[in-house]
Protein backbone atom coordinates (compact mmCIF):
# COMPACT_ATOMS: atom_id res chain seq x y z
CA UNK A 1 0.00 0.00 0.00
CA UNK A 2 1.56 3.26 -1.05
CA UNK A 3 -0.29 6.46 -0.34
CA UNK A 4 0.84 9.99 -0.95
CA UNK A 5 -0.30 13.08 0.86
CA UNK A 6 -1.93 16.23 -0.40
CA UNK A 7 -1.35 19.92 0.04
CA UNK A 8 -4.32 21.49 1.82
CA UNK A 9 -5.24 25.14 1.34
CA UNK A 10 -8.24 26.60 3.09
CA UNK A 11 -8.98 30.10 1.83
CA UNK A 12 -11.37 32.61 3.40
CA UNK A 13 -13.75 29.94 4.62
CA UNK A 14 -16.99 31.24 6.15
CA UNK A 15 -19.95 29.13 7.14
CA UNK A 16 -23.47 29.62 8.38
CA UNK A 17 -26.07 26.83 8.39
CA UNK A 18 -28.89 28.95 6.96
CA UNK A 19 -28.82 32.52 5.64
CA UNK A 20 -30.37 33.70 8.91
CA UNK A 21 -28.38 31.62 11.39
CA UNK A 22 -25.26 33.09 13.03
CA UNK A 23 -21.88 32.62 11.38
CA UNK A 24 -20.27 29.37 12.56
CA UNK A 25 -16.79 30.60 11.69
CA UNK A 26 -15.53 33.55 9.73
CA UNK A 27 -12.84 33.87 7.06
CA UNK A 28 -10.67 30.96 8.14
CA UNK A 29 -7.36 30.58 6.31
CA UNK A 30 -5.27 27.49 6.90
CA UNK A 31 -2.59 25.58 5.03
CA UNK A 32 -1.12 22.18 5.62
CA UNK A 33 1.75 20.73 3.59
CA UNK A 34 1.64 17.25 2.10
CA UNK A 35 2.07 14.51 4.69
CA UNK A 36 1.40 16.68 7.72
CA UNK A 37 -0.65 15.58 10.72
CA UNK A 38 -2.65 18.62 11.78
CA UNK A 39 -4.82 18.93 14.88
CA UNK A 40 -7.58 21.49 15.23
CA UNK A 41 -8.36 21.94 18.91
CA UNK A 42 -11.13 23.95 20.44
CA UNK A 43 -14.08 23.78 22.76
CA UNK A 44 -17.45 22.43 21.72
CA UNK A 45 -19.33 24.79 19.44
CA UNK A 46 -16.38 26.67 17.97
CA UNK A 47 -17.11 25.23 14.52
CA UNK A 48 -14.17 22.83 14.25
CA UNK A 49 -16.34 19.86 13.35
CA UNK A 50 -18.21 21.90 10.73
CA UNK A 51 -14.84 22.90 9.25
CA UNK A 52 -13.91 19.21 8.98
CA UNK A 53 -17.21 18.37 7.25
CA UNK A 54 -16.49 21.09 4.68
CA UNK A 55 -13.01 19.66 4.16
CA UNK A 56 -14.62 16.29 3.47
CA UNK A 57 -17.02 17.82 0.95
CA UNK A 58 -20.00 16.71 3.04
CA UNK A 59 -20.99 20.32 3.81
CA UNK A 60 -20.62 23.31 1.52
CA UNK A 61 -19.03 26.56 2.74
CA UNK A 62 -21.00 29.80 2.56
CA UNK A 63 -17.91 31.60 1.28
CA UNK A 64 -14.33 30.64 0.51
CA UNK A 65 -12.93 27.36 -0.72
CA UNK A 66 -10.88 24.30 0.10
CA UNK A 67 -8.11 23.30 -2.30
CA UNK A 68 -6.40 19.91 -2.25
CA UNK A 69 -3.33 19.94 -4.47
CA UNK A 70 -4.79 23.06 -6.08
CA UNK A 71 -8.17 21.47 -6.90
CA UNK A 72 -11.35 22.62 -5.23
CA UNK A 73 -13.25 20.15 -3.01
CA UNK A 74 -16.88 20.10 -4.11
CA UNK A 75 -18.19 16.70 -3.00
CA UNK A 76 -17.22 13.67 -0.94
CA UNK A 77 -14.58 11.47 -2.52
CA UNK A 78 -12.73 8.30 -1.52
CA UNK A 79 -9.55 10.41 -1.84
CA UNK A 80 -10.43 12.26 1.34
CA UNK A 81 -12.08 9.97 3.82
CA UNK A 82 -13.68 10.92 7.10
CA UNK A 83 -13.82 8.89 10.31
CA UNK A 84 -16.47 9.73 12.85
CA UNK A 85 -16.85 9.45 16.64
CA UNK A 86 -18.75 6.20 16.20
CA UNK A 87 -17.48 3.56 13.76
CA UNK A 88 -20.84 3.32 11.90
CA UNK A 89 -20.04 -0.13 10.53
CA UNK A 90 -22.57 -2.02 8.44
CA UNK A 91 -23.90 -4.62 10.88
CA UNK A 92 -24.97 -7.12 8.21
CA UNK A 93 -21.41 -7.49 6.97
CA UNK A 94 -18.34 -9.24 8.29
CA UNK A 95 -15.14 -7.35 9.10
CA UNK A 96 -13.73 -8.22 5.66
CA UNK A 97 -16.89 -7.07 3.88
CA UNK A 98 -16.96 -3.82 5.83
CA UNK A 99 -13.36 -3.06 5.01
CA UNK A 100 -13.88 -3.86 1.33
CA UNK A 101 -17.16 -1.99 0.90
CA UNK A 102 -15.60 1.19 -0.48
CA UNK A 103 -13.56 -0.76 -3.04
CA UNK A 104 -16.64 -2.73 -4.08
CA UNK A 105 -18.27 0.59 -5.04
CA UNK A 106 -15.44 1.21 -7.51
CA UNK A 107 -14.05 -0.72 -10.43
CA UNK A 108 -11.81 -3.19 -8.69
CA UNK A 109 -11.41 -6.85 -9.49
CA UNK A 110 -12.25 -9.38 -6.79
CA UNK A 111 -8.59 -10.30 -6.50
CA UNK A 112 -7.45 -6.71 -6.07
CA UNK A 113 -10.13 -6.10 -3.44
CA UNK A 114 -9.10 -9.22 -1.56
CA UNK A 115 -5.44 -8.24 -1.56
CA UNK A 116 -6.00 -4.70 -0.44
CA UNK A 117 -8.54 -5.67 2.21
CA UNK A 118 -6.17 -8.26 3.67
CA UNK A 119 -3.42 -5.68 3.77
CA UNK A 120 -5.62 -3.09 5.47
CA UNK A 121 -6.86 -5.62 8.04
CA UNK A 122 -3.25 -6.58 8.82
CA UNK A 123 -2.37 -2.92 9.17
CA UNK A 124 -4.93 -2.45 11.95
CA UNK A 125 -4.02 -5.87 13.43
CA UNK A 126 -7.41 -7.52 13.09
CA UNK A 127 -6.25 -10.63 11.18
CA UNK A 128 -7.89 -12.95 13.72
CA UNK A 129 -11.26 -11.22 13.37
CA UNK A 130 -11.53 -10.97 9.57
CA UNK A 131 -14.55 -13.26 9.22
CA UNK A 132 -16.38 -12.12 12.37
CA UNK A 133 -19.55 -10.08 12.36
CA UNK A 134 -18.68 -6.57 13.44
CA UNK A 135 -21.31 -6.69 16.19
CA UNK A 136 -19.17 -9.28 18.00
CA UNK A 137 -16.24 -6.87 18.26
CA UNK A 138 -15.34 -4.46 21.07
CA UNK A 139 -15.65 -0.69 20.60
CA UNK A 140 -11.94 -0.32 19.96
CA UNK A 141 -11.89 -3.18 17.45
CA UNK A 142 -14.88 -1.67 15.66
CA UNK A 143 -13.07 1.65 15.38
CA UNK A 144 -10.09 -0.25 13.95
CA UNK A 145 -12.40 -1.75 11.31
CA UNK A 146 -13.58 1.78 10.47
CA UNK A 147 -9.94 2.84 10.19
CA UNK A 148 -9.15 -0.08 7.86
CA UNK A 149 -12.26 0.74 5.82
CA UNK A 150 -10.85 4.25 5.34
CA UNK A 151 -7.24 3.18 4.74
CA UNK A 152 -8.14 0.60 2.10
CA UNK A 153 -9.24 3.47 -0.14
CA UNK A 154 -5.65 4.73 0.01
CA UNK A 155 -6.80 8.27 0.79
CA UNK A 156 -4.53 11.26 0.48
CA UNK A 157 -6.21 12.79 3.47
CA UNK A 158 -7.77 11.17 6.51
CA UNK A 159 -10.19 13.38 8.40
CA UNK A 160 -10.83 12.41 12.00
CA UNK A 161 -13.74 13.88 13.94
CA UNK A 162 -12.93 13.09 17.58
CA UNK A 163 -12.76 9.47 16.48
CA UNK A 164 -11.61 7.91 19.74
CA UNK A 165 -13.64 9.92 22.24
CA UNK A 166 -16.07 7.05 22.87
CA UNK A 167 -13.29 4.58 23.73
CA UNK A 168 -11.66 3.76 27.05
CA UNK A 169 -8.36 5.51 27.79
CA UNK A 170 -6.16 2.49 27.12
CA UNK A 171 -7.73 1.64 23.73
CA UNK A 172 -7.76 5.30 22.79
CA UNK A 173 -4.04 5.68 23.49
CA UNK A 174 -3.08 2.66 21.38
CA UNK A 175 -5.25 3.78 18.45
CA UNK A 176 -3.84 7.31 18.56
CA UNK A 177 -0.32 5.95 18.31
CA UNK A 178 -1.24 3.46 15.59
CA UNK A 179 -3.02 5.98 13.38
CA UNK A 180 -0.08 8.36 13.59
CA UNK A 181 2.48 5.68 12.83
CA UNK A 182 0.44 4.33 9.86
CA UNK A 183 -0.01 7.86 8.48
CA UNK A 184 3.69 8.61 8.79
CA UNK A 185 4.66 5.28 7.26
CA UNK A 186 2.31 5.64 4.28
CA UNK A 187 2.65 9.41 3.92
CA UNK A 188 -0.95 10.65 3.86
CA UNK A 189 -2.24 13.78 5.60
CA UNK A 190 -4.29 13.75 8.76
CA UNK A 191 -6.58 16.47 10.00
CA UNK A 192 -7.91 15.63 13.42
CA UNK A 193 -10.51 17.65 15.26
CA UNK A 194 -10.38 17.21 19.01
CA UNK A 195 -10.94 18.82 22.37
CA UNK A 196 -8.37 16.50 23.91
CA UNK A 197 -4.98 18.23 24.28
CA UNK A 198 -3.28 14.85 24.85
CA UNK A 199 -4.61 13.59 21.56
CA UNK A 200 -3.18 16.59 19.73
CA UNK A 201 0.22 16.16 21.38
CA UNK A 202 0.39 12.41 20.66
CA UNK A 203 -0.93 12.54 17.09
CA UNK A 204 -0.12 15.88 15.45
CA UNK A 205 2.87 17.65 13.93
CA UNK A 206 1.09 20.94 14.46
CA UNK A 207 -1.96 22.09 16.38
CA UNK A 208 -4.12 25.08 15.56
CA UNK A 209 -6.40 26.53 18.21
CA UNK A 210 -9.92 27.56 17.28
CA UNK A 211 -11.90 29.78 19.63
CA UNK A 212 -14.61 32.40 19.81
CA UNK A 213 -18.07 32.64 18.36
CA UNK A 214 -18.02 32.91 15.40
CA UNK A 215 -14.96 30.71 15.55
CA UNK A 216 -11.61 31.60 14.12
CA UNK A 217 -8.08 30.28 14.32
CA UNK A 218 -6.41 32.18 17.12
CA UNK A 219 -3.08 30.45 17.58
CA UNK A 220 -0.92 27.64 16.32
CA UNK A 221 1.62 25.39 17.98
CA UNK A 222 4.37 23.17 16.60
CA UNK A 223 4.38 19.75 18.23
CA UNK A 224 8.05 19.10 17.75
CA UNK A 225 8.49 15.67 19.28
CA UNK A 226 10.27 12.51 18.16
CA UNK A 227 8.33 9.28 17.49
CA UNK A 228 7.15 7.12 19.10
CA UNK A 229 5.50 9.46 21.56
CA UNK A 230 4.68 8.32 25.05
CA UNK A 231 2.43 10.43 27.23
CA UNK A 232 4.43 9.45 30.35
CA UNK A 233 7.59 10.95 28.82
CA UNK A 234 8.48 14.22 30.67
CA UNK A 235 9.22 15.95 27.35
CA UNK A 236 5.72 15.10 26.09
CA UNK A 237 4.21 16.27 29.37
CA UNK A 238 6.10 19.56 29.23
CA UNK A 239 4.86 20.21 25.70
CA UNK A 240 1.32 19.30 26.73
CA UNK A 241 1.48 21.88 29.57
CA UNK A 242 2.73 24.52 27.14
CA UNK A 243 -0.06 23.80 24.66
CA UNK A 244 -2.63 23.90 27.46
CA UNK A 245 -1.33 27.30 28.61
CA UNK A 246 -1.42 28.62 25.04
CA UNK A 247 -4.94 27.29 24.60
CA UNK A 248 -6.20 28.90 27.79
CA UNK A 249 -4.68 32.30 27.03
CA UNK A 250 -6.04 32.16 23.47
CA UNK A 251 -9.54 31.45 24.73
CA UNK A 252 -9.22 34.21 27.34
CA UNK A 253 -8.06 36.69 24.69
CA UNK A 254 -11.22 35.90 22.70
CA UNK A 255 -13.30 36.92 25.69
CA UNK A 256 -14.26 33.34 26.58
CA UNK A 257 -14.14 31.66 29.95
CA UNK A 258 -10.80 29.83 30.31
CA UNK A 259 -11.17 26.20 29.48
CA UNK A 260 -11.96 23.85 32.31
CA UNK A 261 -9.87 20.73 32.68
CA UNK A 262 -12.98 18.54 32.37
CA UNK A 263 -13.81 19.82 28.96
CA UNK A 264 -10.41 20.34 27.42
CA UNK A 265 -8.29 17.61 28.86
Amino acid sequence: MSIRGTEIKIQGLTHRYTPRSPVTFNRVDLESPSGEALAIIGRSGCGKSTLLHILAGILKPTEGRVLLDGKSVEAPSPRWVMMFQAPHLFPWMTVTQNVGVGLSFGRWSKKEIQERVTEAINLVELQDYAQKNTQDLSGGQQQRVALARSLVMEPELLLLDEPFSALDAFTRASLQKDVRSIAKRLGFNIVIVTHDIDEAVIMADRAVIMAGSPGSIVDEFEVDLPDPRDRADPVVQKLRAELMARFQSAVRAKGGVPAMEEEVQ
Partner: protein, 273 residues
Protein backbone atom coordinates in the same frame (compact mmCIF):
# COMPACT_ATOMS: atom_id res chain seq x y z
CA UNK B 1 -31.54 -33.70 14.56
CA UNK B 2 -27.84 -34.48 14.42
CA UNK B 3 -26.60 -31.04 15.44
CA UNK B 4 -27.04 -31.14 19.26
CA UNK B 5 -23.71 -32.94 19.52
CA UNK B 6 -21.90 -29.97 18.06
CA UNK B 7 -23.42 -27.51 20.50
CA UNK B 8 -21.89 -29.08 23.57
CA UNK B 9 -18.75 -30.23 21.81
CA UNK B 10 -18.76 -33.79 23.13
CA UNK B 11 -20.48 -37.15 22.88
CA UNK B 12 -23.76 -36.13 24.44
CA UNK B 13 -26.07 -37.64 21.82
CA UNK B 14 -28.19 -38.96 24.68
CA UNK B 15 -29.28 -35.38 25.44
CA UNK B 16 -30.63 -34.76 21.92
CA UNK B 17 -34.08 -34.02 23.29
CA UNK B 18 -32.68 -30.96 25.06
CA UNK B 19 -31.85 -29.28 21.75
CA UNK B 20 -34.03 -26.14 21.32
CA UNK B 21 -35.16 -27.17 17.82
CA UNK B 22 -36.23 -30.63 19.01
CA UNK B 23 -38.02 -29.12 21.98
CA UNK B 24 -39.78 -26.60 19.75
CA UNK B 25 -40.92 -29.36 17.41
CA UNK B 26 -42.09 -31.38 20.41
CA UNK B 27 -44.25 -28.54 21.68
CA UNK B 28 -45.67 -27.96 18.18
CA UNK B 29 -46.63 -31.63 17.81
CA UNK B 30 -48.15 -31.66 21.31
CA UNK B 31 -50.21 -28.54 20.59
CA UNK B 32 -51.53 -29.87 17.28
CA UNK B 33 -52.31 -33.22 18.93
CA UNK B 34 -54.48 -31.50 21.54
CA UNK B 35 -56.32 -29.66 18.76
CA UNK B 36 -56.91 -32.93 16.86
CA UNK B 37 -58.03 -34.69 20.06
CA UNK B 38 -60.59 -31.97 20.81
CA UNK B 39 -61.80 -32.10 17.24
CA UNK B 40 -62.16 -35.90 17.35
CA UNK B 41 -64.13 -35.69 20.61
CA UNK B 42 -66.34 -33.01 19.09
CA UNK B 43 -66.89 -35.31 16.07
CA UNK B 44 -68.02 -38.16 18.33
CA UNK B 45 -70.28 -35.77 20.22
CA UNK B 46 -72.16 -34.54 17.14
CA UNK B 47 -72.33 -38.06 15.69
CA UNK B 48 -73.83 -39.34 18.94
CA UNK B 49 -76.49 -36.64 19.22
CA UNK B 50 -79.58 -37.35 17.06
CA UNK B 51 -80.13 -33.61 16.49
CA UNK B 52 -76.70 -33.03 14.97
CA UNK B 53 -76.09 -36.48 13.53
CA UNK B 54 -76.40 -35.27 9.94
CA UNK B 55 -73.31 -33.09 10.46
CA UNK B 56 -71.19 -36.00 11.69
CA UNK B 57 -68.82 -35.77 8.75
CA UNK B 58 -67.45 -32.47 10.18
CA UNK B 59 -65.46 -34.69 12.56
CA UNK B 60 -61.75 -35.35 12.32
CA UNK B 61 -61.90 -38.92 11.04
CA UNK B 62 -64.33 -38.28 8.13
CA UNK B 63 -62.20 -35.25 7.23
CA UNK B 64 -59.11 -37.45 6.99
CA UNK B 65 -61.03 -39.73 4.60
CA UNK B 66 -61.86 -36.71 2.45
CA UNK B 67 -58.23 -35.97 1.58
CA UNK B 68 -57.62 -39.07 -0.62
CA UNK B 69 -61.05 -38.62 -2.22
CA UNK B 70 -60.36 -34.99 -3.11
CA UNK B 71 -56.86 -35.86 -4.29
CA UNK B 72 -58.12 -38.58 -6.61
CA UNK B 73 -60.72 -36.26 -8.09
CA UNK B 74 -57.99 -33.65 -8.58
CA UNK B 75 -60.07 -31.09 -6.68
CA UNK B 76 -57.51 -30.52 -3.96
CA UNK B 77 -54.60 -29.93 -6.32
CA UNK B 78 -56.46 -27.59 -8.64
CA UNK B 79 -57.95 -25.52 -5.77
CA UNK B 80 -54.54 -25.16 -4.12
CA UNK B 81 -52.82 -24.28 -7.40
CA UNK B 82 -55.36 -21.64 -8.37
CA UNK B 83 -55.51 -20.05 -4.92
CA UNK B 84 -51.76 -19.95 -4.41
CA UNK B 85 -51.35 -18.42 -7.87
CA UNK B 86 -53.80 -15.64 -6.94
CA UNK B 87 -52.10 -15.17 -3.60
CA UNK B 88 -48.64 -15.09 -5.14
CA UNK B 89 -49.62 -12.64 -7.89
CA UNK B 90 -51.38 -10.34 -5.40
CA UNK B 91 -48.45 -10.42 -3.00
CA UNK B 92 -45.96 -9.81 -5.80
CA UNK B 93 -47.87 -6.70 -6.87
CA UNK B 94 -48.07 -5.56 -3.24
CA UNK B 95 -44.29 -5.94 -2.84
CA UNK B 96 -43.55 -4.29 -6.20
CA UNK B 97 -45.57 -1.23 -5.15
CA UNK B 98 -45.14 -1.29 -1.38
CA UNK B 99 -41.35 -1.53 -1.18
CA UNK B 100 -40.45 1.39 -3.48
CA UNK B 101 -43.18 3.62 -2.06
CA UNK B 102 -42.13 2.62 1.47
CA UNK B 103 -38.52 3.53 0.67
CA UNK B 104 -39.70 6.87 -0.64
CA UNK B 105 -41.74 7.41 2.53
CA UNK B 106 -38.78 6.58 4.70
CA UNK B 107 -36.30 8.72 2.78
CA UNK B 108 -38.28 11.81 1.73
CA UNK B 109 -39.84 13.67 4.64
CA UNK B 110 -42.17 15.78 2.44
CA UNK B 111 -43.54 12.68 0.72
CA UNK B 112 -44.04 10.95 4.07
CA UNK B 113 -45.99 13.90 5.45
CA UNK B 114 -48.05 14.26 2.30
CA UNK B 115 -48.89 10.60 1.87
CA UNK B 116 -49.44 9.55 5.48
CA UNK B 117 -53.10 10.58 5.83
CA UNK B 118 -54.42 9.32 2.48
CA UNK B 119 -52.56 6.02 2.90
CA UNK B 120 -53.79 5.52 6.46
CA UNK B 121 -57.31 6.26 5.26
CA UNK B 122 -57.12 3.77 2.37
CA UNK B 123 -55.54 1.19 4.66
CA UNK B 124 -58.58 1.21 6.92
CA UNK B 125 -60.94 0.36 4.05
CA UNK B 126 -61.80 -3.33 4.28
CA UNK B 127 -60.20 -4.88 1.20
CA UNK B 128 -63.37 -6.81 0.37
CA UNK B 129 -65.31 -3.58 0.04
CA UNK B 130 -63.40 -2.92 -3.18
CA UNK B 131 -64.99 -6.05 -4.65
CA UNK B 132 -67.77 -4.40 -6.72
CA UNK B 133 -65.31 -1.87 -8.12
CA UNK B 134 -62.77 -4.59 -8.87
CA UNK B 135 -65.39 -6.59 -10.75
CA UNK B 136 -66.23 -3.56 -12.93
CA UNK B 137 -62.60 -2.74 -13.61
CA UNK B 138 -61.25 -6.21 -14.32
CA UNK B 139 -62.50 -8.37 -17.14
CA UNK B 140 -61.69 -11.60 -15.33
CA UNK B 141 -62.44 -12.87 -11.83
CA UNK B 142 -58.79 -13.72 -11.45
CA UNK B 143 -57.85 -10.09 -12.08
CA UNK B 144 -60.40 -8.85 -9.55
CA UNK B 145 -59.27 -11.26 -6.83
CA UNK B 146 -55.58 -10.47 -7.40
CA UNK B 147 -56.44 -6.78 -7.15
CA UNK B 148 -58.20 -7.34 -3.82
CA UNK B 149 -55.26 -9.28 -2.43
CA UNK B 150 -52.84 -6.60 -3.57
CA UNK B 151 -55.03 -3.92 -1.96
CA UNK B 152 -54.99 -5.83 1.32
CA UNK B 153 -51.29 -6.71 1.27
CA UNK B 154 -49.71 -3.49 0.07
CA UNK B 155 -50.15 -1.52 3.33
CA UNK B 156 -48.21 -3.70 5.76
CA UNK B 157 -45.37 -4.00 3.22
CA UNK B 158 -45.32 -0.25 2.64
CA UNK B 159 -45.50 0.82 6.27
CA UNK B 160 -43.00 -1.77 7.51
CA UNK B 161 -40.53 -0.73 4.78
CA UNK B 162 -40.90 2.93 5.75
CA UNK B 163 -40.52 2.09 9.45
CA UNK B 164 -37.43 0.00 8.69
CA UNK B 165 -35.84 2.84 6.81
CA UNK B 166 -36.53 5.33 9.58
CA UNK B 167 -34.50 3.11 11.94
CA UNK B 168 -31.49 3.13 9.60
CA UNK B 169 -28.47 5.01 10.97
CA UNK B 170 -28.20 8.17 8.79
CA UNK B 171 -24.42 8.00 9.20
CA UNK B 172 -24.40 4.86 7.01
CA UNK B 173 -25.40 7.03 4.07
CA UNK B 174 -22.73 9.59 4.95
CA UNK B 175 -20.08 6.85 5.20
CA UNK B 176 -21.18 5.13 1.99
CA UNK B 177 -21.24 8.39 0.06
CA UNK B 178 -17.81 9.24 1.39
CA UNK B 179 -16.52 5.86 0.20
CA UNK B 180 -17.80 6.58 -3.28
CA UNK B 181 -21.20 4.84 -3.45
CA UNK B 182 -23.40 5.83 -6.39
CA UNK B 183 -27.16 6.25 -5.86
CA UNK B 184 -27.77 2.75 -7.24
CA UNK B 185 -25.13 1.26 -4.97
CA UNK B 186 -26.59 3.16 -2.03
CA UNK B 187 -29.88 1.42 -2.76
CA UNK B 188 -28.62 -2.09 -3.50
CA UNK B 189 -25.71 -2.29 -1.07
CA UNK B 190 -26.87 -0.18 1.89
CA UNK B 191 -30.61 0.49 1.91
CA UNK B 192 -31.89 -2.91 0.81
CA UNK B 193 -29.71 -5.06 3.10
CA UNK B 194 -30.45 -2.68 5.97
CA UNK B 195 -34.22 -3.05 5.59
CA UNK B 196 -34.64 -6.62 4.24
CA UNK B 197 -35.59 -7.74 7.73
CA UNK B 198 -38.36 -5.14 7.97
CA UNK B 199 -39.58 -5.78 4.42
CA UNK B 200 -39.87 -9.50 5.17
CA UNK B 201 -41.71 -8.74 8.42
CA UNK B 202 -44.08 -6.61 6.33
CA UNK B 203 -44.55 -9.44 3.83
CA UNK B 204 -45.30 -11.79 6.71
CA UNK B 205 -48.06 -9.49 7.95
CA UNK B 206 -49.26 -9.01 4.36
CA UNK B 207 -49.40 -12.75 3.81
CA UNK B 208 -51.64 -13.13 6.84
CA UNK B 209 -54.04 -10.49 5.59
CA UNK B 210 -53.94 -11.73 1.99
CA UNK B 211 -54.64 -15.32 2.97
CA UNK B 212 -57.62 -14.13 5.03
CA UNK B 213 -58.96 -12.01 2.14
CA UNK B 214 -58.44 -14.72 -0.47
CA UNK B 215 -61.08 -17.16 0.76
CA UNK B 216 -64.03 -14.76 1.07
CA UNK B 217 -63.02 -13.22 -2.26
CA UNK B 218 -63.31 -16.69 -3.80
CA UNK B 219 -66.78 -17.10 -2.28
CA UNK B 220 -67.99 -14.41 -4.68
CA UNK B 221 -68.54 -15.46 -8.24
CA UNK B 222 -65.50 -17.56 -9.16
CA UNK B 223 -65.63 -21.26 -9.93
CA UNK B 224 -62.17 -22.23 -8.77
CA UNK B 225 -59.92 -22.00 -5.75
CA UNK B 226 -60.13 -23.00 -2.09
CA UNK B 227 -62.91 -20.52 -1.26
CA UNK B 228 -65.03 -21.81 -4.12
CA UNK B 229 -64.31 -25.43 -3.11
CA UNK B 230 -65.69 -24.71 0.37
CA UNK B 231 -68.83 -23.11 -1.06
CA UNK B 232 -69.21 -26.01 -3.47
CA UNK B 233 -68.82 -28.59 -0.70
CA UNK B 234 -71.47 -26.83 1.35
CA UNK B 235 -73.81 -26.80 -1.65
CA UNK B 236 -73.43 -30.55 -2.18
CA UNK B 237 -73.59 -31.25 1.58
CA UNK B 238 -70.12 -32.89 1.43
CA UNK B 239 -69.17 -31.64 4.89
CA UNK B 240 -66.04 -33.75 5.19
CA UNK B 241 -64.75 -32.14 1.97
CA UNK B 242 -65.55 -28.76 3.46
CA UNK B 243 -63.51 -29.36 6.60
CA UNK B 244 -60.71 -30.88 4.53
CA UNK B 245 -60.52 -27.65 2.50
CA UNK B 246 -60.59 -25.56 5.68
CA UNK B 247 -57.75 -27.70 7.06
CA UNK B 248 -55.82 -27.23 3.82
CA UNK B 249 -56.19 -23.45 4.09
CA UNK B 250 -54.85 -23.54 7.64
CA UNK B 251 -51.97 -25.87 6.76
CA UNK B 252 -50.82 -23.87 3.72
CA UNK B 253 -51.06 -20.60 5.63
CA UNK B 254 -49.05 -22.11 8.48
CA UNK B 255 -46.35 -23.41 6.09
CA UNK B 256 -46.03 -20.11 4.21
CA UNK B 257 -45.80 -18.23 7.50
CA UNK B 258 -43.12 -20.62 8.77
CA UNK B 259 -41.07 -20.10 5.59
CA UNK B 260 -41.21 -16.35 6.14
CA UNK B 261 -40.19 -16.73 9.78
CA UNK B 262 -37.13 -18.68 8.60
CA UNK B 263 -36.32 -16.02 5.99
CA UNK B 264 -36.70 -13.26 8.58
CA UNK B 265 -34.25 -15.09 10.85
CA UNK B 266 -31.83 -15.53 7.97
CA UNK B 267 -31.87 -11.84 6.97
CA UNK B 268 -31.98 -10.33 10.43
CA UNK B 269 -28.77 -8.63 11.50
CA UNK B 270 -30.33 -7.33 14.71
CA UNK B 271 -28.75 -8.77 17.82
CA UNK B 272 -30.63 -9.75 20.91
CA UNK B 273 -34.00 -10.39 19.29
Amino acid sequence: MSSPVASSGGAVAAGWYKHPAVQQLGWAIAGISILVALWTLFGYYIAGNPKTQSFASFGFIPTMHAFPELWELGKLQSAVMVSTYRLGAGLAIAVAIGVPVGILMGRVKRFRELSNSPFQLLRMVSPLSWMPIAVYVYATWDGAIIFLIAMAAVWPVMFQTAAGLSKVDPAWFKVARNLGASSTQMLTRIIIPAITFDVLSGIRLALGVAWIVLVPAEYLGVTSGLGYAIQDARGTLSYHWLTAMVMTIGAIGYCLDSILVLLIKRFSWHRGG
